[in-house]
Amino acid sequence: MGSRASTLLREEEIEEIKKETGFSHSQITRLYSRFTSLDKGENGTLSREDFQRIPELAINPLGDRIINAFFPEGEDQVNFRGFMRTLAHFRPIEDNEKNKNPTASEPLNSRSNKLLFAFRLYDLDRDDKISRDELLQVLRMMVGVNISDEQLGSIADRTIQEADTNGDSCISFQEFIKASLVEKLCETCF
């Protein structure tokens, strides 16, 4: 499987992905073999079902949302580029990268992009605000069945209250940055 994968991925593609995402060559090839192993239909793209086949994702409370994050707006398939683009959010932050290329756009794994990724997981309707309902949904997913709706509501209310500085009883992205534990998200996977 490994050798077949590397022949399908052309060198120039690897270079492009490297430039876009910052992954190293070996990381890209490794992730490509992972991609193909997930791709049961062998059509070069992943669908939602392919993700859902991963057993650990099934028990992850935020699994569905993260799967959705891979798929661009309205689409049902994601190709390898998109796959890598999303995963690139979780690379370690390298501050010197920014210094080298100040004119380039912000790298995918910058602090604010990471936070934006997390923010979008909460904010389903993409209105750049986390409303109480959206927060409730996330809480319900994370907490399971042990807490009643009322209690969850109180937690949600308190959360919004703590974070909300402009009084619209929603959490905007700026408020989200201030309220959450940024260092935690900067833990990386790669």
Binding site: L31, R34, S37, L38, F51, I54, E56, L57, I59, N60, P61, L62, G63, I66, F70, L87, F90, P92, A118, L121, Y122, R132, V138, L139, M142, V143, G144, V145, N146, I147, S148, D149, E150, Q151, G153, S154, I155, D157, R158, T159, I160, Q161, E162, A163, D164, T165, G167, S169, A179, S180, L181, K184, L185, E187, T188, C189, F190
Partner: protein
């Protein structure tokens, strides 16, 4: 603390000046210094009747001095009504008096009160380098010893002592990572100490010439066995302990006994198999912590914590007295300048070298590398202590000819590291600007997002097929949730949700701060009302009047409307024992008799639970923090929006008074406006309520407040109910005190009035909300201390 240790060490010098029988006292202390392992089994070999009393001339009159061997003088005819039973009580008397003297010195000497701890740390790699080079130093010393002896000496002198490390670093408050590294090193190197010491002892006994290669391999193998075996023994006992505490609901009073016994058995069992006893105890504690803490009651937690602290303090004191006495007893040691000076230099140099080398290696795998400052602190923080001394004293003088030299050197090393390094580490840390421990106020946002981020990172790792840190941690948590917790946690605790617990804790902290401020402002005091709770059936209590609410640690036992999913078996657990446990004190807000009195604070009131509190006033400087005291024109931003959720309605009388008193002050209209809508809403609520509130419902959930509806409330329970119960208010109030002092500055409660969302529909109970604030001031898990600084310092 270090000056205190200094004093302790020098105390026996004073003793010596009295010309008393120091060796015998030393023997007595040796016999009683049982916490030092290895010594445990020696027993009081020197303890003998008729030991001369040694008293420092400063503290004790010379009345008792020199009294010996008078046991025989009791039989001078007839029956004596009162007899002088000195010999009978002699030993414990002496010990207790010494301890008392030393502890009194603590009061005088240092506010932080942590005794100087003697560290014994053994780090294998560092040790070996040091060991070899100390062997080389034999070229420069005139001590009769060969390589094996020096290896043995090196083995015991390079051990860093956890007790000293703990004490010093606790005072210094370095950041968590650094503390964990150094303290963890000192704990874990016990295994290495045990192994190396025993190995080298056996080599020495056999003679250097007879050591074969196989023996070296056996040494390595024995290290693995000792450390891993010790860990396993500890974990086995941890499982047993967790399992037992699952069923101790009905015998709450002896829960601490289980904890102590099982941990002690873990220690002894490891000793039985000559495995590493300290590792066993450590891992027993680590493993059992989560389950035991959840299962046992608040009172038991407090008991265990403070008992252990006391025992530790006693042990430290004894060790230091012992050390000091030994220093003075010249018969036991012999001085060699070369050995002493070389040792002092080498231990420092080679510890530094070892730290640097290993950090270089570790940094290749670490996400956050250890920088130079960390390394400096790590090498400087290697304090030697009592275990090194104990080990050297236990050497066999016949086999190791140079024992006396070693003893002297060890004493000097210990004195030097403890005094010099211990005293100077704090300025060093300040000078190097080492990052200190952070005291972050917990917020519900952080709790939620931290959990969410964990899930996100785990999912990403799974998608990418990596098996990284999050993957394994998640796997462990799944295993724990599905098997371990089911086995070791009692059913009611198993269903608790961590997020809910965290949320309640945060609310309680806010509630306490609100009450504190309100109380202070209104010159009210909280007085406890002692009522025995009556057990009541089922979950159908009304909120108004009726019985006392159930006071359970678990939120489960509340209104069934909230939890329609409650399964039957937890209902079965709502029997009386569950209800009667963890009952709290009802507080009643009274106007203080003398309004001129300075405001009382809640923790002060808690200090005396049984009587009207003769409370000490909070320091006057705190008044400046209260905004409404600062200036008349300022609004009463005494509560933040968060806190207003949880103002107990029974304090609305207080609110009414405060608001009316504000309005009666010079500029009424201006003051009225900034009043928070909720405050004014509260003041509009109901008429006069009795000062003592009727025990209302059991609602523990915190609801979102509406503009016109009452506030949300929490239950507050103190964990002492019966009068027979012992005094653990001090413990609880101590725990509350830091909380209060943490929350006192109102800049932590910035006022801002966003309109709250409409509250969820609820039953009529909200008209008469419950008024008890539950103090879920639990003993913090390792990782948080009373001050909510995340340090694993409290044992």
């Amino acid at each position: 603390a270090v000056p205190f240790g200094l004093m302790l060490l020098l105390l026996p010098v004073a003793v010596d000046l009295l010309g008393t029988a120091a060796p015998q006292l030393q023997g007595l202390a040796l016999g009683t210094a049982s916490p030092v392992h290895h010594l445990l089994h020696r027993g009081p070999e020197y303890g003998a009747p008729g030991i001369a009393l040694a008293r420092s001339a400063a503290e004790e009159p010379a009345g008792f001095g020199g009294e010996e061997r008078d046991a025989a003088e009791h039989h001078s005819g007839g029956y004596r009504v009162v007899q002088w039973e000195w010999s009978y009580v002699q030993n414990p008397y002496i010990i207790a008096t010494w301890l008392l003297v030393a502890s009194l010195a603590k009061i005088c000497k240092s506010a932080s009160g942590v005794c100087v701890c003697v560290c014994v740390c053994v780090c294998a790699f560092k040790k070996q380098i040091h060991v070899l080079l100390s062997a080389l130093s034999s070229l420069y010393v005139h001590v009769q010893a060969d390589l094996m002896d020096f290896l043995l000496f090196g083995a015991l002198i390079s051990a860093v002592d956890p007790v000293a490390v703990l004490a010093v670093f606790e005072e210094v408050h370095v950041n968590e990572t650094l503390f964990i590294i150094v303290f963890g090193e000192s704990l874990l190197n016990d295994a290495v100490t045990v192994v190396l010491y025993k190995v080298y002892i056996s080599f020495v006994e056999v003679g250097a010439a007879n050591v074969q290669t196989a023996d070296y391999f056996k040494g390595v193998a024995s290290f693995l066995i000792v450390s891993i075996g010790g860990t396993l023994v500890g974990l086995v006992f941890a499982v047993i302990l967790g399992f037992i505490t699952r069923f101790t609901k009905k015998v709450r009073i002896i829960e601490p006994l289980f904890v102590f016994l099982l941990v002690y058995l873990a220690y002894l069992t490891a000793e039985l198999f000559s495995l590493s006893a300290i590792l066993s105890m450590t891992f027993c504690g680590i493993g059992a912590n989560k389950y035991v803490e959840a299962n046992i009651s608040q009172k038991s937690r407090t008991t265990v914590k403070y008992t252990m602290k006391n025992l530790a303090s006693i042990a430290e004191t004894i060790i230091f007295i012992f050390l000091g006495i030994s220093a003075v007893d010249k018969s036991k040691w012999a001085w060699d300048t070369g050995l002493v000076s070389c040792t002092l230099i080498f231990i420092f140099v080679f510890r530094a070298a070892g730290v640097v080398g290993q950090t270089w290696l570790l940094n290749r795998f670490r996400l956050v590398p250890l920088d130079k400052i960390d390394q400096v602190v790590m090498s400087y923080g290697g304090l030697r202590g009592a275990v090194a001394f104990a080990l050297v004293v236990l050497l066999d003088g016949e086999k190791v000819k140079a024992k006396d030299y070693f003893v002297a050197t060890t004493i000097v090393v210990v004195f030097f590291t403890v005094m010099f390094q211990g005293l100077t580490i704090k300025p060093l840390v300040k000078w190097l600007k080492v990052p200190r421990a952070t005291n972050r106020k917990p917020t519900i946002n952080e709790e939620i997002h931290e959990r969410a981020f964990d899930h996100i990172l785990t999912a990403v790792e799974d998608i990418a097929g990596l098996q990284g840190y999050h993957h394994w941690r998640d796997k462990w948590e799944q295993f724990d949730k599905n098997y371990l917790s089911k086995l070791l946690l009692s059913k009611s605790k198993y269903r608790r949700s961590e997020l809910w617990e965290a949320y309640q804790k945060i609310n309680i902290r806010d509630a306490i701060s609100v009450i504190d401020q309100v109380m202070k402002f209104n010159h009210l005091e909280l007085r406890p009302v002692h009522e025995v709770p009556q057990s009541h059936r089922g979950s159908d209590t009304k909120e108004d009047g009726g019985d006392k609410p159930r006071r359970n640690v678990s939120w489960q036992d509340k209104d069934p409307m909230l939890f329609p999913m409650e399964p039957e078996d937890t209902k079965a657990e709502h029997s009386d024992p569950e209800k009667e446990e963890d009952v709290g004190i009802v507080f009643v807000a009274h106007k203080a008799e003398t309004p001129k009195q300075r405001p009382k604070s809640v923790p002060a009131a808690l200090d005396v639970c049984q009587s009207p509190p003769a409370v000490p006033s909070p320091p006057p400087s705190e008044d400046n923090h209260l905004p409404w005291k600062a200036g008349l024109g300022s609004p009463p931003p005494c509560v933040s929006v968060e806190a207003t959720k949880i103002i107990p309605v029974d304090l609305q009388q207080a609110w009414n008074q405060s608001i009316s008193s504000l309005e009666s002050v010079s500029s009424p209209p201006a003051l009225a406006e900034p009043v928070h809508p909720r405050i004014s809403a509260l003041s509009r609520l109901g008429g006069p309520r009795p000062a003592s509130y009727t025990p209302p419902s059991s609602s523990t959930s915190v609801r979102a407040p509406g503009p016109q509806s009452p506030f949300c409330f929490l239950e507050k329970k103190k964990e002492v109910q019966e009068k027979e119960e012992e005094e653990e208010e001090t413990g609880v109030s101590q725990e509350l005190q830091p909380l209060m002092s943490n929350l006192r500055p109102p800049e932590l409660l910035p006022p801002h009035p966003p309109p709250p969302p409409p509250p969820p529909p609820g039953p009529g109970r909200r008209r008469n909300p419950c008024v008890y604030l539950r103090s879920l001031v639990t003993a913090p898990p390792p990782g948080t201390s009373e001050l909510h600084s995340r340090r694993p310092t409290q044992l």
